[in-house]
């Protein structure tokens, strides 16, 4: 059965090393085709009826794409139309090395049973193994290997003698490879010509990546950009210090300007300014680039001009604009300036945006304007331009030749009409990289089979706590209940308090597709009217949700505490609970307050509430911060799903009661897992902010003659408490809102990779997340660690690998950040919808920040923040004097300070369909020429109605 062959491989790691590996060839690798009679295979993937209406090939056929086709045309391969594809091991491995995202996508396609993608392990098949020949390069060998496998399939399927003439088509991008394939009698097409031949499905053509254009760039148009340096030269240049490596960040407001953040070990980070098209040299936001610094005499200052790329015009115009950038700048403002000389790594992703249809009627080439202003416009080729107008679409960049003003790309997907709620939600999910596709079959396959019930096996290592009077307290409408509580008196006079958390790690086993998907998603994302689950609904809203009156598996943290809320004993156990009630915060509060109620649940709640108050007091005494950020909540119309009311969230005692015990559980668990796994505990820390972060806060307090102390969290908390202005009750809240903005982001980390564990905001030396495993992946890991620590479950290698855990933490931190941004974007969009229906409103607000040419205003009623600009492109600008130290801004004769009360009108500005925004205009104080007269919604036609979005 086994044949042994050795092959030689040399790797480079400082020197040259000869590596010998065995390579076994097999006779038992089957073809996977339904028509085959010679392979004794149990199951098949490739269908008998592989019809595809093509003008090139009338008979049914299987496709074999080469590596470049998979890498560049993955959008095509993913299309549901494309089925019965043979993915060679050679191709799959190469894709794995070249692009992790494409590898994941092609694997998903292979797992999708409806796609009928078959992986053929050609390199271990006795008849398709190919040995490198003398003088053959690795690339040539690679291509030949693919041809040999294609030839084998052709011959192999011929033997099957079906009624239909089943063909095998090799898809390649490489002309030479195609030629050689035809020489040995293979059917081979260029990917483009094949896709174009699919007569029945012309829309597929749009999704083709524009690969070929880059090759014949020499004969088209003049060279606009300098050549990029090859990677080897870049590496040498970086080594010698002549070039700098950094991440390219395009300027949101000025398309001719960008900066490159250069991080060098042991040296201070530098920000290099890049100005002008030629210097930007085709770098796209987030690319890793190599820059060359210009001589000091050519350094420039960041311009404050807003420049929008208005599309292709005469070149002179462009130069003129670049000249604007170079205008007056004082010596002091000059920044290190450079130019991009090469690209180290492209970080292109599919971009959302809209088509700017060409003015020429028959044109097939159009410009696409991404929603993200930092991304350049992209030229795409499509025949459905008219249909795509006014739609939000996704476009991928294929390349950026040096003679092209814009990068070339291809159409990927239509999301729907712009302004449409569904479409806009999709856009904000995509733009924030939130994985939100339906769970794949491979993932769903790991869900428990329904009907589900607790088995004998499940009860192993598990305590029966069904008798306890456990209840859950959540916001109304909550379906993913991950925590429940109980409290009861013990005979010794102490109290027993239990926090019971959904046992998600019981259902999600390490390493399987379900686990990988959850780990990749990292968190559930809550948008205003939609929830993007981290785990499939069966788990999140059913099996893991600790609903009342059903038996659920839980992970319990049980304390014995005395009446001073001091912990006497802590223990952890996997358990089965049966919650007696699912309450809302309001319901729980009502029970506590209603003296007539004296059932077990209510008594339990009262006990919890009393303990929580003591715990909170202690925590605050320790220096924990209570900060506030206005959280907005929409009342959504049940039929139209439009927001009909907007208010800031109100907190009840019971909110804080649940929170207190969650914090306590998290801390107890953090201590336990760190004690058991000092190297591998997944913890959460919140670094203390650098003192300079507090500048604005201190200044704000000073404006009302309060001294804020920021040397410790405790000092800050105390001085914040003391800062209460007479007759200005909102002052303290404003300070706390500002303080929130000064804070650092809390992050997950692996205890073996860090030494600073402190959680600044909670004033706890150690902290982790344990209490929400349904919606946070970190909690699942923490559950697994805790389970291993108490001997209720096994460890597995990745859990005990601090590097892997650090990598996981990075992903989780990224996902959490993006989820937060997506949430904010969703709130912003719904705010816009709300104001669209309201027309123009007059509201009172406070100045939150004072800027050079604007003030930022917070409207407490809506928790809404907006800017009033005092500079306008076309109008005569008022006289502005800005004093940064205070800070204060004088407009004509009025001076604005922090926290000043103002009146504004609020309206929706939809002049740019892709970037609608809330506009605020000053009403009070009255500054002639600046402020506007108050308007009521009645006597002004809502502006939104004028520019209908979906026309």
């Amino acid at each position: 059965m086994l044949k042994s062959k050795t092959f030689v491989k040399k790797t480079r790691s400082g020197g040259v090393r000869k590596i010998v590996r065995e390579h076994y060839l097999r006779d038992d690798i089957w073809c996977g085709s339904e028509v085959c009679q010679s392979c004794p295979q149990d199951s098949t993937v490739l269908q008998r009826n592989a019809y595809m209406e093509s003008s090139l090939c009338s008979s049914p056929h299987y496709l074999i794409p080469d590596t470049n086709v998979v890498l560049h045309q993955i959008d095509i391969l993913e299309d549901p139309l494309i089925r019965n594809v043979i993915i060679l091991q050679t191709v799959l491995q190469e894709v794995r090395h070249r692009s992790a995202p494409v590898y994941k996508r092609i694997k998903d396609a292979i797992h999708n049973a409806e796609k009928h993608f078959y992986t053929f392990t050609n390199e271990h098949h006795r008849e398709t193994y190919v040995e490198q020949e003398q003088g053959e390069s690795a690339a040539e060998l690679h291509d030949r290997t693919i041809r040999v496998a294609a030839q084998w399939y052709t011959e192999h399927l011929k033997k099957a003698q079906t009624a239909e003439d089943l063909k095998v088509i090799l898809l390649t991008h490489d002309g030479k490879c195609k030629e050689k394939a035809e020489e040995i009698g293979l059917v081979s097409y260029n990917c483009e010509e094949y896709i174009k031949s699919l007569i029945a499905n012309p829309e597929l053509v749009d999704r083709l990546a524009l690969k070929s254009e880059e090759n014949n760039e020499s004969d088209r148009g003049k060279i606009l950009f300098p050549e990029h340096l090859p990677l080897s030269k870049i590496q040498a240049g970086i080594k010698s210090g002549r070039l700098l490596q950094g991440t390219f960040r395009a300027n949101r407001d000025n398309y001719l300007e960008a900066s490159v953040f250069v991080h060098r070990d042991g040296e201070e980070d530098v920000e290099v300014l890049i100005q002008g098209l030629r210097s930007l040299n085709r770098a796209v936001h987030q690319d890793v680039v190599a820059v060359e610094l210009l001589p000091k005499s050519e350094w420039a200052a960041p311009s404050s001009v807003v420049l929008e790329d208005e599309g292709p015009k005469e070149d002179e115009n462009e130069d003129e604009k670049e000249n604007i950038l170079k205008s007056v700048a004082s010596e002091k403002m000059l920044k290190p300036t450079g130019r991009v000389v090469g690209i180290i790594k492209r970080n292109w992703r599919p971009y959302c945006g809209m088509l700017s249809k060409s003015h020429i009627k028959e044109a097939t080439k159009h410009l696409f304007t991404p929603a993200d202003r930092r991304i350049p416009r992209i030229r795409i080729e499509t025949r459905q331009a008219s249909a795509l107008e006014g739609q939000r679409i996704i476009v991928a960049i294929d390349g950026w030749p040096k003679n092209s003003r814009y990068p070339n790309g291809h159409f990927v997907r239509n999301l729907g009409s712009a302004g449409d709620k569904g479409t806009e939600t999709e856009v904000l999910l995509l733009e924030h990289d939130v994985p939100h596709q339906a769970f794949s079959q491979a993932v769903l396959g790991f869900l428990p089979k329904m009907p589900w019930s607790i088995t004998e096996e499940d009860m192993k290592n598990r305590e029966d706590l069904r008798h306890l009077h456990v209840c859950s307290v959540d916001p109304p409408g909550c379906t993913d209940i991950d925590d429940a509580l109980h409290c009861k008196d013990l005979e010794n006079g102490n109290l027993e308090v239990g926090v019971h958390i959904a046992d998600v790690s019981h259902f999600i086993r390490p390493g399987n597709a379900l686990d990988q998907e959850s780990a990749s998603r990292g968190t559930t994302v809550y948008l205003c009217e939609r929830r993007i689950d981290m785990v499939p609904e069966l788990l999140s809203s059913n099996l893991c949700s600790l609903r009342s009156n059903v038996e659920r598996l839980a992970f319990s943290c049980i304390w014995e505490v005395n009446h001073n809320a001091e912990i006497v004993k802590t223990r952890f156990t996997k358990s089965v609970i049966n919650s007696k009630a699912s309450l809302t915060y309001a319901e729980a509060q009502m029970r506590i307050d209603d003296a007539s109620m004296n059932d077990e649940i209510t008594k339990s709640l009262r006990g919890l509430n009393r303990l929580a108050k003591i715990l909170k007091k202690k925590r605050i005494e320790n220096g924990a911060l209570t900060l506030s950020s206005p959280e907005v909540r929409f009342h959504i119309d049940s039929e139209t799903h439009d927001p009909i009311d907007m208010q800031t969230k109100e907190l009840k005692d019971t909110n804080s009661m649940v929170e207190e015990f969650m914090l306590l559980a998290n801390i107890s668990v953090a201590q336990k897992i760190y004690e058991e796994f000092p190297e591998f505990a997944l913890l959460r820390k919140h670094p203390a902010p650098p003192p300079s972060n507090y500048d604005i806060l201190v200044k704000a307090a000073k404006s009302k003659s309060f001294e804020l102390r920021t040397d410790s969290a405790k000092a800050l908390a105390d001085s914040l408490d003391a800062a209460r202005a007479q007759g200005f009750p909102y002052f303290n809240t404003l300070l706390r809102i500002l303080a929130t903005r000064c804070m650092m982001q809390a992050v997950y980390f692996c205890s073996g990779m860090d030494s600073d564990f402190h959680h600044y905001g909670l004033a706890s030396p150690i902290y982790t997340h344990f209490t929400s495993p349904i919606r946070r992946y970190a909690d699942i890991i923490v559950h697994r660690l805790l389970a291993a620590a108490i001997g209720a479950d096994s460890t597995y290698p990745d859990l005990m690998d601090k590097h892997k855990q650090a990598a996981l933490s990075n992903n989780l931190n990224y996902r959490h950040k993006m989820a937060q941004y997506a949430q904010r974007a969703s709130v912003a969009f719904h705010t816009q919808l709300f104001f669209k229906s309201r027309g123009i409103l007059n509201e009172e607000g406070f100045i939150l920040f004072v800027k050079k040419n604007a003030i930022v205003i917070l409207i407490p009623k809506y928790g809404l923040e907006g800017r009033v600009f005092f500079e306008n492109k076309d109008k005569n600008n008022p006289r502005l004097t800005f004093i940064e130290e205070i800070p204060a801004l004088t407009v004509e004769h009025h001076t604005f300070h922090l926290f000043d009360k103002v009146k504004v009108t609020i309206s929706l500005d939809s002049s740019n369909i892709q970037h609608q925004k809330i506009r605020m205009s000053l009403v009070e104080p009255v500054i002639p020429g600046v402020s506007v007269s108050p308007q009521s919604a009645q006597d002004c036609e809502p502006e939104a109605k004028k520019t209908k979005l979906d026309c």
Binding site: V8, Q132, A236, G237
Partner: protein, 291 residues
């Protein structure tokens, strides 16, 4: 076994035999025992060879690594030798027991092979003063049955013949930084010319005569030996007296003459054999230790 002890009577028998040009195993004074050579026996080396001479069994593996040229000769690569007198050969070598013998042999090998007359050391230079190939020639003694030097030298020569050094290219950028680039064609290799690589002939003075390729028993009867390295043209590149006794100038002269003759005669069948083996290419059935 590195040495044997024999009785006086045995000694006399051996010495008398040598005097009559008829040795215990039937050989004449200038005859070698049966020798077996096989190259390319260890696949993860860049060159390897196994030589059996009598029961002496030698395995040589060569690994090429990139290093810095020596400051005195900035445009040459060099060879490094290590001789592992393994306990497999004899329990005497267990632990550090074989180290002295190993050092002695490797010093000699260094003298014989690591010079530009024997091996084209310049060909091993990649870029002067910066990069060169270092050939680590590792000798493994698996069994000792006398005349180690000769057997080892043949094995080293065969392994050098078998050595394939990956072809590298130096790319230089504007700053003058040099990068080493490897060809992705595994067949794209550099070979060393072994034309001038000498073989060692050890002559042992037994009684009044001298013999080549002494067995352990014969060695025990010998007072002193002379080691010569001889190229295919019969040029002597190194002479060294080894062993405890002394030799008169006359004997040294005679022994040198014999050594030249025998050494020259040894070279051509060796080269013939190596070339023949190579011409078989991939078809050759590798024997190794399974034969």
């Amino acid at each position: 076994m590195a040495t044997v002890q024999i009785s006086e009577a045995e000694k006399v028998y051996i010495v008398h035999g040598v005097r009559d040009d008829l040795r215990v195993d039937g050989r004449g004074c200038e005859d070698y025992r049966h020798m077996e050579i096989e190259t390319d026996v260890v696949s993860n080396t860049d060159g390897s060879a196994r030589v059996k001479l009598g029961y002496s069994d030698i395995l040589v593996g060569i690994k090429a690594e990139i290093g810095r040229p020596r400051p005195m000769v900035p445009d040459e690569g060099f060879l490094e030798f290590f001789v592992d007198c393994s306990a497999n050969a004899t329990p005497e070598f267990e632990g550090r027991g074989g180290e002295d013998l190993g050092t002695e042999i490797s010093n000699t090998l260094y003298k014989v092979f690591n010079n530009p007359h024997s091996v084209d050391l310049r060909a091993l230079c990649i870029s002067p003063k910066e990069h060169c190939w270092i050939l680590y020639v590792d000798v493994l003694l698996l069994q000792c049955d006398g005349n180690l030097y000769d057997a080892i030298s043949v094995a080293v020569k065969a392994a050098l013949f078998n050595t394939r050094i990956p072809r590298v290219q130096i790319s230089e950028d504007d700053e003058g930084t040099k990068e080493i680039e490897l060809s992705d064609d595994p067949y794209d290799c550099m070979r060393l010319s072994v034309e001038n690589v000498p073989c060692i002939v050890t002559l042992c003075k037994v009684g009044q005569r001298h013999i080549v390729d002494a067995t352990l028993q014969e060695k025990a009867c010998s007072k002193a030996c002379l080691l010569l390295s001889v190229t295919s043209r019969g040029t002597v590149t190194c002479v060294r007296k080894i062993g405890g006794g002394s030799l008169d100038p006359e004997s040294i002269f005679e022994m040198t003459e014999t050594g030249k003759r025998v050494g020259k005669a040894l070279q051509s069948p060796l080269m013939e054999l190596l070339q023949k083996e190579e011409s078989l290419g991939k078809k050759r059935q590798k024997v190794g230790f399974l034969g």
